[in-house]
């Protein structure tokens, strides 16, 4: 019975994993990856780790993948176009090398003596919340606190990266007509953070202030 369940969830995980790699549309890859996460959560429950299974669904499938799907939708990612990979035989070489890797691991797994350990002897309470909690807050308190600082760093880093930097976006174009410039670009005595807008009368003046020499040929940046 347990073996049947294992084969079911393992097959689901491998199938969705292959779909992640094989799909060309990134949104379908993301949905397949959610399938992988949920089948792995079911495997964790079989391995007597219910807390980790619930945390896997909440964190991976419910938060990280929501973020990824958000980014895919906001950037409107299209399907991968065919053609022009840098190495011509990239896909067959990758598949062949990964098959060799799986063969090596299979050889090791087959030739090593197995422990005949019972996976989940009933009176054990290894995966319960209580045992994880006591260990996490007594013996492994330092990694726990460092992880929280790591998350704080991630929050600050993500906010800094996503902020449109500086006073003017690097994609600013000079438009003929009145151009609104921040005060500190025009008046060198102003504070660098002074963002009161100042209107320049012509695009020549705006270009001179911005330091753009050849603004009439502004094309897409390469």
């Amino acid at each position: 019975m347990l073996a049947l369940l294992f084969i079911l969830f393992a097959g689901l995980a491998i199938g969705c994993g292959l779909a992640v790699v094989a799909q060309r549309n990134p949104l379908y890859s993301a949905i397949s990856l959610i399938g992988v996460f949920i089948s792995l959560a079911c495997l964790y429950v079989m391995l007597a780790a219910p807390f980790i299974a619930a945390v896997q669904v909440i964190v991976y499938a419910g938060a990280i993948m929501v973020l990824v799907v958000f980014v895919i939708m906001l950037l409107n990612v299209e399907q991968e176009e065919r053609g022009r990979p840098r190495l011509k035989f990239l896909v067959p070489t990758a598949v062949a090398l990964s098959a060799i890797l799986i063969a090596e691991v299979a050889f090791i797994l087959v030739s090593v003596q197995e422990f005949r350990v019972n996976p989940t002897s009933p009176p054990s309470n290894v995966g319960l919340t209580h045992s994880i909690g006591t260990q996490l807050f007594t013996r492994y308190l330092l990694p726990f606190e460092i992880t929280s600082i790591l998350l704080l760093m991630a929050i600050v880093g993500a906010m800094t990266l996503a902020r449109r930097g500086g006073l003017l976006s690097p994609n600013a174009r000079v438009v003929p007509g009145a151009q609104v410039l921040p005060l500190s670009m025009v008046d060198p005595n102003a504070e660098p953070d002074d963002l009161r807008p100042v209107e320049a009368d012509s695009s020549d003046e705006a270009a001179r202030t911005l330091g753009i020499t050849d603004f009439r040929n502004q094309s897409k940046r390469d």
Binding site: Y28, F51, V57, V66, F70
Partner: protein, 350 residues
């Protein structure tokens, strides 16, 4: 290992719970229309059957027979998958709630627990499945190939993931009070003091934060901007018609029901009817029956509060909504954790 009898019993339990939930949800829709009508000074639908009692079946017939329109350029697979995800995520949380204490069937010695599945991390399971429910809305908004749907879907999912944080944090107060994540055990803990030791007495701030966050999670007024008809046409379910729209509609009401059940279980004692154990002994059939009915009654009070809020409050603008969720509700949830932890530390024998 489970024997075949256990599996059959579980399947019967799931079927019964499923039927009960769907019936309650159908009559919640009717109750909403009638109560909203009475709040707004008119009668609701009262023609079909006596006082409108057969209205849900008329609605069901309408949904089944309506023409099913699929937009031409939509992504077909995701378009069909989204209402399925939403409804599945709404229904899957049903299995961990304790509907009553263990009852023994009279004249036999069979005891059946009134919970479908009882495991160690029940509360985390509910939070996880709620997180999965966001995908139904997001994928529906994306796959309809319609800018109103996309805006509605993105706004709705941003709202849901923002308020999930306040929801989870407000529940930590209850977890600290109970010392366990198992919902059945939490209800057992509240049966002290003759069934009046409810956790709302110890953690009222957590309850208020939980209720507001839960109303935002289920996309109900005053947080229903992403799907309101006067705003973004109908938000993420603009392009869905007939049975698929019925699935989204049902998913929303089942979510309301689930959230009410969680509030009852965690804060209002679950199936504990106050002072009932002075009249009947625990473990008898009549005790279990009255407890289960008491549970359903408390859940219906919460559903009435939902409907009442819908008839009374205006809706938030989206930036007000996000502001409220991140800058006001999240710090309040953290404050509730601190207050509860201090309470436990100061009075460990309470």
């Amino acid at each position: 290992m489970e024997t075949a009898i256990d599996i059959v019993l579980k399947l019967v339990a799931i079927t019964v719970a499923f039927t009960v939930v769907l019936l309650i949800v159908a009559y919640t829709v009717l109750a909403e229309r009638r109560v909203l009508g009475l709040i707004q000074g008119r009668l609701g639908p009262n023609r079909v059957g006596y006082g409108g009692m057969l209205q849900p079946f008329a609605d069901l017939l309408k949904f089944i027979l309506k023409e099913d329109i699929v937009p031409d350029k939509s992504t077909r697979f995701i378009y069909f998958l989204a209402p399925v995800i939403a409804t599945m995520a709404a229904l899957m949380t049903m299995i961990v709630y304790p509907f009553g204490p263990e009852i023994t069937i009279p004249f036999t010695s069979i005891t059946i627990p009134l919970t479908i599945a009882r495991f160690d991390v029940g509360l985390l399971y509910v939070l996880g499945i709620t997180s999965i429910g966001v995908y139904g809305i997001m994928l529906a908004g994306w796959s309809s190939n319609n800018k109103y749907s996309l805006m509605g879907g993105l706004r709705s999912s941003a709202q849901m993931i923002s308020y999930e944080l306040a929801l989870g944090l407000s529940l930590i107060g209850v977890i600290v009070l109970a010392g366990t994540l198992d919902l059945g055990q939490i209800v057992e803990n509240q049966s002290a003091w003759h069934g009046t030791r409810w956790y709302i007495l110890f953690n009222p701030l957590g309850f208020v934060v939980y209720l507001i966050a839960a109303i935002a999670e289920t996309n109900r007024v005053p947080f229903d901007l992403p799907e309101a008809e006067t705003e973004l046409v109908a938000g993420f379910h603009t392009e869905y018609s007939a049975m698929k729209f019925a699935l989204f509609f049902m998913a929303e009401y089942i979510n309301m029901f689930t959230v009410s059940m969680l509030a009852t279980t965690l804060f209002f004692g679950g199936w504990n009817v106050p002072f009932l154990d002075l009249i009947f002994a625990r473990g008898t059939f009549i005790f279990g029956l009255i407890s289960a009915l008491g549970f359903i009654f408390k859940v219906c009070v919460f559903l009435f509060i939902y409907i009442w809020l819908r008839g009374t409050l205006p809706r938030f603008r989206f930036d007000q909504l996000m502001n409220f969720g991140w800058k006001i509700l999240l710090p309040l949830a953290l404050l509730s954790i601190f207050i509860t932890a201090t309470l436990i530390y100061a009075f460990p024998n309470l």
